[in-house]
């Protein structure tokens, strides 16, 4: 039904994707997986007819070679580009969006159908709310049902679930899945979540502008079965993640059933890539048992209570995961801990000292490291200049600065990028570079706000390895938020927020004991839906 033949997409001086070919039948969901910049979006843009390409695409008998020729299939097509609710107009309400999309797609109003979509997305009660006031997850869901509104025969979704919490993610998936069965559509979906990829009918694995593997999830897993071992080890020649180790050379370990993400690791190994070796020197740190202690922290925005009397303890040398749906109050909470928001009610202690005045907060700032969602660093300055700047701000001497830059760039493997600008770096490198900036001044606590969002699997695996090493050897306590529930397994303890209230505060180990056999995602959803 959809046939893509030798499609190549070029940008000014780089090739986005080279010679992609595949076929899809109606009712099928094709998953695109691969790292950031591997060519997934380029392929989608070519098929959606919004980007010039070489090659040929045939959809339901219509042949096209350019965006111009693709006009004829556009009535049957919906594209949801990458980004949180990119296609929404902030100043239009949900209802007005429906009206607008209905009219520009020239579909007759079908009240029943629209009601169904709104209910599926849980937006029925919010029809009068402006899109600009919706949370990230709600925006994604709205974008998705708007894409479904014209009952497209070809649905193209570019990372619809990135940055979306597990609850919304599951709902999004249910919408798409229910839909393709009823309407018999072809859906092309790119994703960074392997649990989702497993549910697709067929997968295309992209790497450096090419499709390097394809097939059903099971087939792909089958292909790396010989390289998969149980447990995690530290070596340059193999990658470990999620309690699996992937190696081309035979290891003296027990074989294990492969996970889908293993495909990335095996591919990297086949390409001769080495795992970054990380060994940190042990550092002695005498710290009090409790590093950060928050008692009844409350933040109100007008009548809206973002955080409602939340208690939290971060113990010395532990990784604490702060979880919750979009808009549950995680970021606000973190900002209170950081001293970025004034605290409306409650008390905050750092290393046993109450943080009250402006001076207290200044002192607080020199003891914490922070890494924000977008790894925001100064775009106009090179990696080195950024690091020098932050070093100076933290009172490091020029000699120390030089040593630290040398040390971190070698350790985190971005030495060759020192003179590049952050925007030219691969996301994974940027992430590690941001981490090293947060660590420059040897903080006792590290606050990480969704540090792995949008980053590919290998980089995420490496990143977590660092975090654990830092925790163990340097005794730095880490507070982290994430949407990857598989990553929560790496935390020692998790705190779950729901609508500004704490609903879970327990060790991961204990949670697993409580719900044997369930994945962490399932446990999370159980708690969130109040069935635990």
């Amino acid at each position: 039904m959809l046939e893509v033949k030798n499609v190549t997409v070029k940008y000014k001086n780089i090739v986005g994707v080279r010679n992609v070919s595949f076929k899809a039948d109606s009712g099928e969901i094709i998953g695109f997986i691969g790292a950031d910049g591997a060519g997934k979006s380029s392929t989608m843009h070519a098929i959606a007819g919004v980007k010039r390409f070489e090659g040929e695409i045939i959809f339901r008998g219509q042949v096209y070679h350019s965006p111009k020729e693709a006009e004829k299939i556009k009535p049957q097509l919906s594209l949801m580009p990458q980004g949180l609710g990119l296609v929404l107009y902030d100043n239009l309400s949900v209802k007005e969006h429906f009206e607008f999309f209905r009219n520009i797609r020239e579909v007759k109003r079908d009240i029943e159908y629209e009601k169904r979509l709104l209910n599926m997305a849980g937006l029925y009660e919010f029809q009068d709310r402006l899109a600009g006031h919706l949370s990230g997850g709600m925006r994604q869901k709205l974008s998705l049902i708007l894409a479904l509104l014209p009952r497209p025969k070809l649905l193209i979704l570019d990372e619809p679930t990135t940055g979306v919490d597990p609850i919304s993610r599951r709902e999004l998936w249910d919408i798409v899945d229910g839909f393709r069965k009823k309407e018999g559509i072809i859906a092309l979906i790119s994703t960074a979540y392997m649990q989702e990829a497993e549910k697709m009918d067929k997968l295309l694995l992209f790497d450096e502008g090419e499709v390097i593997a394809r097939g059903k999830a099971d087939e792909l897993k089958e292909s790396i079965k010989d390289y998969t071992y149980e447990g995690e080890i530290e070596s340059e020649d193999c990658f470990s993640f999620n309690n699996r180790t992937y190696s081309l050379k035979p290891l003296n370990l027990k074989k294990a059933s492969p996970l889908l993400e293993g495909v990335f690791f095996v591919n990297a190994l086949k390409k001769g890539k080495k795992n970054l070796k990380i060994e940190l020197e042990e550092k002695e740190a005498k710290l009090s048992e409790v590093v950060v202690k928050a008692e009844g922290l409350t933040k109100k925005f007008g009548s809206f209570i973002a955080d409602d009397h939340v208690d939290l303890e971060l113990k010395s040398g532990e990784i604490l995961g702060l979880l919750g749906a979009n808009g549950a109050g995680k970021t606000t909470f973190m900002k209170m801990l950081l001293g970025l928001y004034p605290i409306d009610e409650g008390e905050l202690y750092l290393l046993g000292k109450r943080i009250k005045s402006y001076e207290d907060r200044l002192e607080l700032k020199s003891k914490i490291g922070y890494m924000s969602q977008r790894f925001a660093l100064y775009e106009e300055m090179s990696v080195k200049e950024n690091m020098e700047y932050f070093a100076k701000m933290h009172d490091l001497s020029p000699k120390e600065t030089k040593e630290k830059i040398e040390y971190f760039s070698t350790l985190f493997g971005f030495k060759k990028y020192l003179n590049d600008f952050p925007k030219d770096l691969p996301l994974g490198i940027n992430q590690r570079f941001s981490l090293s900036v947060a660590l420059l001044h040897e903080p006792v606590v590290l606050f990480l706000d969704e540090p792995t969002s949008g980053v590919d699997t290998i980089a995420r695996a490496t990143f977590w390895k660092f975090l654990r090493e830092i925790k163990e050897k340097w005794k730095i306590s880490i507070l982290i938020t994430t949407h990857y529930m598989s990553e929560a397994e790496y935390c020692d303890r998790v705190v779950v927020l729901k609508r500004g209230k704490k609903i879970v505060d327990d060790e991961v180990k204990k949670l697993h004991e409580k719900f044997p056999g369930l994945s962490f995602e399932e446990i999370f959803i159980k708690y969130y839906e109040g069935s635990a």
Binding site: L362, E363, K365, S366, I368, R374, M381, Y389, K392, D395
Partner: protein, 359 residues
Amino acid sequence: MKKFLAVFKKEILVFLRNVMLVFILIYAFTFDIYIAGQGIEVKPRNVSIGYVNYSGELLPQKILAHLHAPEFQKPKRFLNEEELKKAIFNKEIMVGIIFDKDFEKNFIRKKEAQLNVIIDSTAAAQAEVSVQYLTQTIYSMIDGKMPVDIKVYKLFNPNSNSKWFMSLSELLSVVTMLSLVLIAVVFVREKEAGTWDIMLLMPVNGALIMFAKVFSQIFIITVGLVMGIGLILFGVFGVPMNGNLLYFFLLTFFFIMAMGGIALVIAAYSNSVLEVSQYTVLVIMPLLFLSGAWTPIHSMAPWLQKLSIISPVKYYIEGAQSIFFRGTEFIDLLPYFAGEIIIGAVLFYLGYRRMGKLF
């Protein structure tokens, strides 16, 4: 101090890497001033002139011969008044002269003749100046026959070289605009790029960051200013410097601090560079309007005159003109410094307070 310099250096670097800002700075301090200086002419230049002659040839030709380049184009002859008027209506001719039948006769016999001049006075000032020039030219033909000799001395600029004035005025407007935009942008860019939180998390006093940021922009503007004065004002237009250039830079410093206060308020309320530019437009027009740059303040309505006392731009423009042209001594410049410092202190304090809330 080390941290102050670190922020200062960072902002300079960030500015230099931002192609658009550098382009705007260079454009504003060079081309923009050049165009303003070139484009506006006070003396009549190349005025198109037409005439109809019903009189004898001798005297009219003698008069017309005096109307020449660069002030006038070659006078064009029309057959009758209708034709001449038509040309004026079509805006092909700006000044029309009609020599009546008795013109020559009256001049020779009675020593009193009337010359009819029709002028397109759409642009009143140009018309005024052109007629004045015409009158002077004709009177100068009969020099010595006038009973009173009115000797007019134009101080500081005897040849009425408007390029001096216009280029300086534009330079001052550019400083006004850029001090608002650059200082606001240096804060808003952190908001836009998402680095705001990181900035706040530096273990540094907020005041230090704010001052370092503001001073970095003052430095950048000063560099632009030196470029504009050196290359365009002195280099291209040969603007005189009758006072002390140092005073000018000192005055500029206090002025930018005052504008910086306004810029901080703008920056506190905007979340994107686009919003900054919109607010700037809203703020800058009344400021320039109250400055006396275009209309002498004492020609304004009384209530506006009172209002202009609180305009920092007024002290800056008057002070700068006094330094450049009038060569005013320091003691007589004190009122401008006092005005600028008082207003600057108040505005900067207000801006600082408003922005400080975000730190």
